[in-house]
Subunit: 227 residues, 2 copies
Amino acid sequence: MTLRRALKDMLYEQVGSLVKGMANAKRLELVELLCQAPKSVETLASEAGISIKLASAHLKELRLAHLVEADRQGRQMIYRITCPEVAGFLVMARGLARNRSFELRHALQEITASAALWTAADDQTLLNQAKRGEITLIDVRPANEFAARHLPYALSIPMMELSARLAELPLGKPVVAYCRGPFCSFSVEAVRFLRDKGFDAFQWPAGAADWISADHESESALFGGAA
Amino acid sequence: MTLRRALKDMLYEQVGSLVKGMANAKRLELVELLCQAPKSVETLASEAGISIKLASAHLKELRLAHLVEADRQGRQMIYRITCPEVAGFLVMARGLARNRSFELRHALQEITASAALWTAADDQTLLNQAKRGEITLIDVRPANEFAARHLPYALSIPMMELSARLAELPLGKPVVAYCRGPFCSFSVEAVRFLRDKGFDAFQWPAGAADWISADHESESALFGGAA
DNA sequence: ACTATATTCTAATATTCGTTAGAATATTAT
DNA sequence: ATAATATTCTAACGAATATTAGAATATAGT
């Protein structure tokens, strides 16, 4: 009986240490950033709003749990997620947290739903509309993240360039903006800005982690992208 | 910029505290046990091999993360998972851990594959075979867990009763045993015992958490059960 | 070889977590 | 009421975590 217990303990211990690798706000954010594209420690630290030293420490934890891996490229270490299931785990955790935490749901609503900024269409409907040109789908993340991976039919217009590139967007037709995911503010800001300018703009709250996991589950290539 | 950061921090903090609720071997085991059926603190403690006090403390953490909830029934507190997604989270974590951890994969193999005890069929194939009577599917968990939730066409033969009920099993046809999940030893023991007695026995490694999450995703009622 | 840059390692801190023991609470049975 | 049982709360302590600062390492460019 004790041998059996020891084995069971070991198995759950293994799962536990993997979950522990994700059991931290900063590490979750780092993983979400790495779902966008492989990134250097420096970039990750700055985008997550923490010191390089702390980012390095968190990345070490993630590496230890085999959730991310890195390769040296010149003088930087470029990190990436080890497999699509890591994105799936993040998506699952985010979804479960939204279900279980009133505070989280409330905070998310305050950002978006207050102004009915988002579109209620599901993934396939949205992509079909984009394919048929019924809507203009814009990716407001930095260009390198678009290059790494993006939704099909999407146009890359990074937030920084948005005000300078309004001419590329149609005035009478819906414009749907997406960014890194539901916790990223880019697309909400883009939609606010575009509405101010008279565009029929909406936000699409899914991001790279969501597509990667959906893509992996459906075994079909949902999104495009080089590198 | 700081306001945005504070909000993002808060959102990831919420997800983090949910993940932290699951980031412990004993809590994972307690959740897996609660996927079988609602249980009292006493039962949980004894089945997980820990003291009642410690079980109570872990259950408090899980309750705080809204992963489980409890109702008083007479003089006992009966705990249960709050929603099917909790099972989904456990299954995802187990799966990712198996992918990422060589040690875990190795340990699991040592239990089962060494003797080729398991069947390679997928869920639907197995259930169809059971439906057509080509195999005999037996549930070797305690009777109350069978009563709470079980696979269709399955026969309840708890481990304790197995040796006394061999007459109910066919000798020429495959007998497939399942239990609480891949980390539970009941079905492996059952198969070893049955093979010793000359039966054509196999193990099916999925358990309640797996069915609950599959069932929830497919939106179809895969399994039966009262209460 | 020398310098600058990017990253990791080491050490130190405060904080949180896991565990155990003892006291306290709530319910049922008498 | 009183006793018995099941569970939770409080306190305590060692172990693990998050964070910061300073030293060390590895690569690229001169």
